[in-house]
């Protein structure tokens, strides 16, 4: 038996580790470094209905143990993304499509169409992108709005729907409960924290967009705390992310309540981050006394 196997709505995972959306494009580039079939799944870059240009440059800034990005949902639009997904068919790799929009209608239209793509096994609805002026995060900071959007997407999607939560809220539990009530099959969290850096020479923000999304190890304790809270609040499964860069980090996320995890920023400093973590995971599980990854899910909550 495969000790890393994990089953979530729509997802039969050979291991619980996948690249996070926006940090791995559509796989082509990292596919030059290793066989993408080694991944548990792949969360592809956000897709909107129309092609989007994203934000002006610079879009990146470094911070202590983290980075800010303000890509702003640049993508080739639904038709372009469909083509990219064809290339991915060669791999034994469930795809999770990341859906974004500037209006409820756009979210719904994208979700309906992308959910029909054969190798897309689940949707991740990005209601938490902090880098666009309209839409994005606005849907992720109001429970009622999030709930209604979830319902509308569930009504049209042919695949399970995971709602991606923003950490930029007072009480993440309210958001989690809202999307569960809206019928979400799962939750992915956390998206980035909103941050800013200023250029000391010019006085201007380093990012042309002003603010950007903070990711990387710096945010890990916030992610763990929020997943821990949400696990106690809802029954649907959680795919966890935020600063993961080692198999030990994965275990901490499983303990907190994640049933699978995504790795974002770590790919940039180590292009082999995902397969390295997958390879180290069995040993780390064993070291801490687990026969399977599934056993470790929510372990922290059974210890009180």
């Amino acid at each position: 038996m495969n000790p890393l196997k994990m089953t979530l709505p729509g997802l039969d995972l050979k291991n619980p580790v996948m690249p996070a959306s926006g940090c791995f494009g559509f796989g082509q580039e990292y596919g030059e470094y290793y066989d993408l079939s080694r991944l548990g799944a792949l969360m592809v870059k956000a897709v909107t209905w129309e092609p989007r240009r994203g934000n002006a440059m610079p879009r990146l800034a470094e911070t202590p143990a983290g980075m800010l990005n303000a890509i702003g949902l640049q993508n080739p639009g639904i038709a372009g993304v469909e083509k990219e997904l064809v290339w991915l068919e060669q791999f034994d790799l469930p795809i999770i499509a990341n859906v974004a929009g500037y209006s409820v209608e756009e979210y719904v239209a994208v979700a309906r169409r992308i959910s029909q793509v054969p190798n897309v096994h689940a949707l991740e609805i990005n209601i938490s992108c902090p880098n666009v002026k309209e839409g994005g995060i606005a849907f992720g900071q109001d429970p009622q709005v999030a709930k209604e959007l979830t319902m509308k997407i569930k009504a049209v999607s042919e695949k399970p729907v995971y709602m991606k939560l923003s950490p930029n809220v007072t009480d993440i539990r309210l958001m989690a409960r809202a999307v569960e009530e809206g019928g979400a099959d799962g939750i992915t969290m956390i998206n980035t924290l909103v941050g800013m850096r200023l250029d000391l020479r010019t006085g201007m923000p380093i990012l042309a967009n002003g603010t950007g999304g903070l990711s990387g190890p710096a945010v890990k304790p916030v992610a763990i705390r929020m997943i821990h809270e949400v696990y106690r609040t809802v029954k649907i499964p959680i795919i966890g992310m935020g600063g993961i860069s080692s198999a030990e980090d994965v275990l901490e996320f499983l303990y907190a309540g994640a049933s699978a995890v995504a790795v974002g920023t770590a790919n940039f400093s180590d292009p082999y981050a995902c397969p390295r973590i997958i390879e180290e995971l069995p040993e780390v599980l064993k070291k801490y006394g687990f026969a399977t990854a599934a056993e470790a899910v929510g372990y922290s909550h059974r210890r009180k």
């Binding site: 926006g22 940090c23 791995f24 494009g25 082509q28 580039e29 990292y30 030059e32 470094y33 290793y34 870059k45 240009r53 994203g54 002006a56 440059m57 610079p58 879009r59 990146l60 800034a61 470094e62 911070t63 202590p64 143990a65 983290g66 980075m67 990005n69 890509i71 640049q74 990387g216 190890p217 860069s245 920023t265 790919n267 940039f268 400093s269 180590d270 292009p271 082999y272």
Partner: protein, 256 residues
């Protein structure tokens, strides 16, 4: 499949104000021995900080000595840490990355133009062009004499003219002033430096000459996956790290 390399530091020495030359043992690079205009992403953290790799161009890739030489300017956190590298240290490098300078068949009169920290990638380029029989003139721009470096290396390729902003060496002014002053004639232009310099050259010569310009952007992945390092071109947005850093003159659409 592509690889990451751990290269041994052979030397790391100051060659001008805040400027260091880092020589690495490249004998294990094999197929990854770099082409001119490509770059490496250097991992300089000990214990995880700084988080991101730093992109640094290939200055000299000596196939005979099997050495890889980089030149870097101390600018911030990462490059400051790099000054602490000592012979024997292992440096984790990701690369070569990017699309370098096209040199196929290039054998006429070539002008290399480098500004400040844009100078390094031109030397390996010049060596290859020289080997192909090109006739090379180099024009380098620096803030002042204290910042100038690599003049000796470039002078092995042909005439070298220098421009400094403060006039402490060569022509006072910018590289464009030095090109004009020395009435440099050329068929093909290769340049790397601050965007204002590249833009000036592009506007001056794109109608009349061939030319290739190497650009900089802040990078995360370095391989085209994160969409952090775009530049506007005639054919739409392109990734500096993957589709560039070198673009043909006339291709890039400059902002303001």
């Amino acid at each position: 499949m592509k690889k990451i390399h751990e290269l041994k530091v052979l030397e790391n020495k100051s060659i001008a104000e805040d400027t260091f030359k880092l020589t690495l043992d490249g004998s294990s690079l094999g197929e990854d021995f770099p082409a001119p205009g490509t770059f490496f992403q250097l991992k300089i953290d000990k214990g995880g900080a700084p988080l991101l790799r730093r992109p640094i161009s290939v200055f000299d890739a000596d196939e005979v000595k099997q050495t890889l030489t980089l030149i870097y300017k101390v600018l911030g956190w990462g490059t400051k840490l790099m000054t602490g590298l000592v012979p024997g240290d292992l440096l984790n490098v990701h690369g070569p990355l990017g699309t370098g300078f096209p040199i196929q068949g290039e054998a006429g009169k070539v002008l290399l133009v480098g500004g400040g920290i844009g100078v390094p990638p031109l030397y390996e380029l010049g060596k290859r062009l020289q080997a192909q029989g090109a006739e090379i003139v180099t024009v380098l721009g620096f803030r002042g004499a204290g910042q100038a470096f690599a003049l000796e290396e470039f002078s092995t390729l042909g005439p070298v003219y220098v421009a400094t902003e403060d006039g402490t060496l060569g022509t006072q002014g910018f590289v464009t002033d030095a090109i004009r002053e020395h009435e440099v004639a050329f068929d093909t232009l290769y340049a790397c430096g601050p965007q204002v310099m590249l833009k000036a050259l592009d506007q001056a010569y794109q109608e009349t000459k061939n030319g290739y310009l190497s650009f900089e952007e802040r990078m995360a992945c370095g391989i085209g996956a994160c969409y952090g390092c775009m530049t506007e071109t005639k054919e739409g947005l392109k990734r500096v790290c993957k589709d560039g850093p070198v673009f043909a003159m006339g291709e890039v659409q400059y902002g303001d």
